[in-house]
Symmetry: C2
Subunit: 558 residues, 2 copies
Amino acid sequence: MSVTKFEIRQGAYYDSVVLMQLQRGLVGLPNVVDAGVVMATPANRELLSANDILPDAVTANPDDLLIVVKGDTEKSALAALGQVDELLTRRKSSTMSEDFHPHSLGAAVKQLPEANWVLISVPGRYAADVAREALAHGKHVFLYSDNVSLEDEIALKGIAREKSLLVMGPDCGTAIINGYGLGFANRVRRGSIGLVGASGTGTQAVTSHIHELGGGISHAIGTGGRDLKYEVGAITAHQALDVLKRDPETKVIVLVSKPPSAEVATQLISAAQASGKPAVVYFIGYPAPARQIGNLHFAVSLSETAEIAVRLVSNSDSLGNSNKAGSAKGYLRGLFSGGTLAYETLLGLQSTLSPIYSNTPITADQSLKDPLHSQSHTLIDLGDEFFMVGRLHPMIDNDLRIRRLKQEAADPEVGMLLLDLVLGQGSHPDPASELAPVIKEIKKNRSDIQVLAIVIGTDEDPQDTSSQIDQLKASGVVVFRTVTEAVEYISLRFSQHKSDGYPPVKLESLTQPLAAINVGLESFYESLISQGAAAVHVEWRPPAGGNEKLASLLAKMK
Amino acid sequence: MSVTKFEIRQGAYYDSVVLMQLQRGLVGLPNVVDAGVVMATPANRELLSANDILPDAVTANPDDLLIVVKGDTEKSALAALGQVDELLTRRKSSTMSEDFHPHSLGAAVKQLPEANWVLISVPGRYAADVAREALAHGKHVFLYSDNVSLEDEIALKGIAREKSLLVMGPDCGTAIINGYGLGFANRVRRGSIGLVGASGTGTQAVTSHIHELGGGISHAIGTGGRDLKYEVGAITAHQALDVLKRDPETKVIVLVSKPPSAEVATQLISAAQASGKPAVVYFIGYPAPARQIGNLHFAVSLSETAEIAVRLVSNSDSLGNSNKAGSAKGYLRGLFSGGTLAYETLLGLQSTLSPIYSNTPITADQSLKDPLHSQSHTLIDLGDEFFMVGRLHPMIDNDLRIRRLKQEAADPEVGMLLLDLVLGQGSHPDPASELAPVIKEIKKNRSDIQVLAIVIGTDEDPQDTSSQIDQLKASGVVVFRTVTEAVEYISLRFSQHKSDGYPPVKLESLTQPLAAINVGLESFYESLISQGAAAVHVEWRPPAGGNEKLASLLAKMK
């Protein structure tokens, strides 16, 4: 029967590569069944347990190194543990390259002053300090490390923004800057598609597929997965969109992320719209407002994102009709007889109009407090049960809608009114004859109000659809035949992207030759060298060798 | 200054048309500024208040009729109120047609025994009883009424299902059966597209647009907006899908609804898949798993739903490759190195695999309790922070994934394993060389397990993507190059639609000449007649004339 033995090394720092190689070295020893070399966090101990190599009665702290060996016999397990130091030394000498590596970021900066990027992949608890130091040196940061706090992320990005610097990350796996891959990145041809990616393997999947389809990448800027959270406010994504907008090499912009918070989504979509370049948006799982709104194209998968982007590069029509759009002021008020039409309109508009309220809300925060009174942008389903007790449906009786139209038009904050007109069997025989005069009257008093209508009907409907449309048009209504057309029209007019007033990231940051300092995983340094980039690797060790108590004493003595 | 006067009529029933016409009659009287005629519900009183015609100190019950007149003077207001009875009588005689109308559903059934449908649009509180009676007569029900309780809806649909009958509604606005529009319906040409619509104006928008595009409708079956709620379980939608599947006229099926509950969505999508007909699914705002999975096509808007449906009618390739699919047993376990790839796979699979769990969940109920142990179908992001303390990323170090692969393969409930392989700069130089032997070993012991891999890489990547793929294929792995392809492959194999065992709705219900009994809004009767359908209108009055106290006494005496 096999026997498990272990050893704990307190407060010592080894990088992950060393731990992996020690573990492999131990497994390779004679009569060793399995081995584990992990930092003794609860997760890692559970993992050992799941692999049936966690000995009983181990007491260790999360920052202790736990070395476990399962041997054929107690003797072989102990013999293996006895070789740990030798294995660690062997590992060191085998990878220690001939070159001298500086031991601090400061020394590395002196060695490669033209470095514009610092790649950081040290353990999370040290990463923010290294990133702060890099920003202080005026360098952009590629922050691969995870387990960095949200507070640190917000602070770092705040500092960077003031200094026109980018912090890609934390937990940023992938970027391609000026043809060089940082972190994990596929080798793809240069081209005219620029990416902003809040998801590492998302960016890899899209860039690879673009390459496969014959397209190429100008730059792929990572943001880290939390950048689009409300608390961070997509600082990096906005900087990235802005610099890609100014980059003459970038003809098409791609934005890939998990679904952002509603407010952040609206701002990013507005920024992408304001870029004036064709843009493909894929917020994984976020319901697309339409296939296309002006220059914005919405994809439903990573692969489709790539396909659309490649198509747009050679498609002169890819800007849609966004340039022809005027602009609207004030609030939109939509008064619907069709609940589904209200709901689909809300779905389409929530990407650009925020906040927006409805009595047929999609998310709880869109819920209109009082169906009788609109607030901000509002879409009302007048056929909702709330209004229907003892009353005919608004598709039969226009009274409720006419009253509400007047009510909305009396609100000086209203700038646009939207109606639907649902024709067919069972509906009012001539609704436009009642609505058009009211609209005409409204427009007489409020020439600043635009009135739009979505007309659902066929050429065989009893109301004569074309005459209904003519009556509406004669009273100054802009008529659409689908919700999607109305959504695009409205979105383009209400989009209001404002500059945030921070100094922009300089275009040269992307276009000058890439030179980088690597702090952490040596393989990222080797990758840069293999791509022909200028790079320096820092032989980094944590303060006080990873001994937290000593480190905090040292910090106090400063 | 204008003066508002009011009158309350307790416990009297008038239908909504009468109320509307009385209101219009009052407004038309000399020196009347405005008038309101409503059931005195809180909502309606607020509405009067918003229109500034709610007098102070009105005490009325929700089932009282409240008549309010605002006159130039007190005298003119009172004079108008004095004419209420005359206006009510005038209305009656003007609309009372020459024909005799039966006063009960039973009498109407005797008059038109071939009637197969009963249209019900009486006030909500009476609607369920009328529907029960219609079902007892063996008739299908089109239940336009809203304000019907969820309990009644579930009970009615349960009864109907046992009797092979359909209950469309409550709150069902629209249906087209055998060319006849019920309720609100656009006049559209007959054709080969069959709809199942949980949303009235959604169905109208789609059918109108199909007509406009040159297509036509076989049948459009409404379900009511709540049918796809978890509590109802889409009883009507499943019946409708089943009968459209058997209908030879229907070549393409369209399914339109607000987003259903997760469980219901999965079952409906499976049923649509099992129909074997090309189907377009539009769950408004529900993230599409892909553009197409086998015979299923996912749309992003009402108008696109129509466009896809029309295209599919003439497209022989519209079934995709669903017929070539085998089937899978047991559970899927996905072990990812790429978080976004895991997330997008989950997004795609959640429509067909339910329940499914992940440590990168989309909804809270998908959250995997313990990342170290899979449950049911599970997708794990092994690059998640949880696993990453002191450990190299699974794109560099395969150890964690190899251990987990073995763990999953040891679970007899597992039938399919899914990996990703993300190549490129920075990743492991030859991951397939470590993974393939493990997979080969697994497949040797468990020939019933299928292993799939999504490979992200380019022909320029340092690992040589094609050799990675070859190594995987040689060990029996099915390889995909995009998440979407893998999602389609898996979805088609796990789709397990089972008949629910209830007697199906007879196809003749749709194909025999439409004959209907109308209880409620006379305009729906008139609409049927104008379309050439056989119809009888019931001159319906509520029990005890709407006097609730009397009605309950009468009920007790039965």
